[in-house]
Symmetry: C2
Subunit: 349 residues, 2 copies
């Protein structure tokens, strides 16, 4: 090693740690000073005991060129989605939305009318899910649009559901159907290439309306939270599906110190998603396990509560929680048992 090299500061590429590794690494030195901070980093949202109820806090960024592409994203949809994905985190704590704050960094290419569209979408989501927009910050960016939303929620003290409450024997449920948002993105990206090759061509995406809408305008599952409450059932653990079913099952297992087994045949798949997936030569199960951005809820129900929830429309049992030593596994339609990984599953198990 030359003297030069010796004094060069060490630089590690962010990608070597991965998203979750990086967050774990950066947040490991956090200390809390307030006993009423009940949950910090490590769940869908933070939880603060305000003495009366619990306040839930969450924050999600949407970055142009990373989370959305202005070529095929209508600004009103983008505004709606930016609020929806944050509220999804609030519902995933079994809480209800209260306030949102909006941080925007905007480059010169956006006009006042463009921002009006963005705000119209945000306010539509706020109206639908009853969240009060209470402020934020608007500033300049030199490159594209950055949207930073913070949402607050509220829950009674005994109502918040963490990722960590699952126990062996609990039944794993998922709402809605999975994989469509990812297929919608595949369609939009393909049409973008077609458009770039020939801007005169008007793409016909009506055939893909369902999957495209799932990508552009997801709805947080407020209805599921209400139905479970009405049924008198509180999940033991819950998370929303932003990164894909496989990753979220693993999050619950890690936080709860359990294993889990899910069954491929039980994973809810919409036919319109399956058709699109086949068109792209992708296995629909892959889309469900790894696609992400479905913003459905994955939750665990104590066996004793099964009868209370089994007739609720739109939720599907997909497996059960096991002892930690069992790991997180997928049983395929052909009866093979595969280990779930954050990328989907490990065929070499």
């Amino acid at each position: 090693m030359t003297e030069q090299e010796e004094h060069k500061p060490k630089t590690t590429n962010i990608s070597t740690l991965g998203e979750f590794g990086l967050i774990d690494h950066l947040t490991k030195n956090i200390k809390h000073f307030h006993p009423n901070t009940l949950m910090g980093v490590g769940d869908d949202a933070a939880v603060v005991d305000n003495g009366n109820t619990l306040t839930i806090l969450t924050k999600d960024l949407l970055v142009e060129g990373v989370h959305f592409d202005m070529v095929y994203t209508p600004l009103k949809h983008l505004g709606y989605k930016s609020i929806a994905v944050n509220l999804s985190d609030i519902y995933a704590m079994n809480a209800r939305p209260r306030q949102v704050m909006v941080g925007l960094a905007v480059s010169k290419k956006y006009s006042v009318e463009a921002l009006e569209e963005l705000y119209a979408g945000m306010l539509l989501a706020c109206e639908r899910y009853k969240a009060d927009m209470v402020g934020g910050d608007t500033t300049t960016s030199h490159a594209g649009l950055f949207i930073s939303i913070t949402a607050t929620g509220e829950a009674a003290k005994n109502k918040v559901v963490y990722r960590s409450g699952a126990k062996p024997g609990d039944i794993l449920f998922v709402s809605g159907d999975l994989g469509a948002a990812y297929c919608g993105q595949l369609v939009l990206q393909r049409e973008k290439q077609v458009y770039k090759a020939n801007p005169e061509m008007q793409p016909d995406i009506s055939k893909y309306a369902y999957v495209v809408e799932r990508q552009l305008k997801p709805e947080p599952r407020a209805d599921i939270i209400d139905l479970l409450e009405k049924a008198g059932v509180q999940p033991t653990a819950m998370i929303d599906i932003s990164d894909g079913l496989a990753s979220e099952v693993r999050h619950i297992c890690k936080s709860s110190a359990t294993g889990a087994t899910i069954y491929e045949e039980k994973i809810p798949i919409d036919q319109r998603m399956a058709l699109t997936a086949h068109e792209f030569n992708i296995d629909p199960t892959t889309c469900a396990l790894s696609g992400g951005e479905d913003y459905e809820l994955l939750f665990c129900i104590d066996q004793k509560d099964y009868d209370k929830v089994k007739d609720i429309a739109g939720i599907h049992p997909i497996g059960h929680i096991t002892e930690a030593g069992m790991g997180a596994n997928l049983v395929t339609i052909s009866g093979q048992q595969l280990k779930l990984t954050s990328q989907g599953w490990d065929a070499f198990y």
Copy 2:
């Protein structure tokens, strides 16, 4: 008008509205659904009644190339400042910090070690001002570093101070000294040019240590909030100085429906700032009125409380609140009365 022009959507450049005009325009359609949302857009922070105490919410973005320049900004300082400017908004509501959430969009040029420095600075500010870092979101950016911080605070129900409570006869006070952060930025920008012309040259900025530190590492005035409480005095209105004294005086006048008169000779100026300002051929009063980023507190005190606060070190009476019709004015050292504008003052009054 050709048919083409007729169908072209109207596009208005953002700069035609200005920062405050744009925010007013975009937020004018906001509706609130929750009666416990006491204050939304329009103050340093939002205020929510949680039934027990008040929860304060604020959010500030820092964008590379807009709010900071990586050539002369140490990452640890940047992390510290990103928390400090948000906590300043919490103190400006006469509240105390509780939690912070961190949103980062990071381009590939940043290493893990760079983010460690950034977090070390953020956690140092959290430790100093007792704020719990409770989560957030870390994602990729294609261009530079975007920092979005949300801070929460807490205050007893009768303790929050808005911008809107000033009344004629109140005395206007400001903490610390003003204009130095702006002078620090002038020095750093000049040294950047010197460095670009000759990278071998090591700039000597020790002479400018005070003004440079005021720019790179501002401290929110927690101490002033504590001293006022100890003196048994609650300001009638308060705001932190992020955009410059002139702009903040006008914010208080607008929110409180009053006028104000401030006196140039009373504006607290540090000699080190004045020397630097003269070196750049700028009037020190201009720096104080228009420079911004001082993160000092501007507040109004009822005349009956004057005796209780007059001996508090580090706060300075600079003028008084008048009737709305009087406008916001500056009386210069030479006795001229000038109208304050958001840019500083209007010499053609």
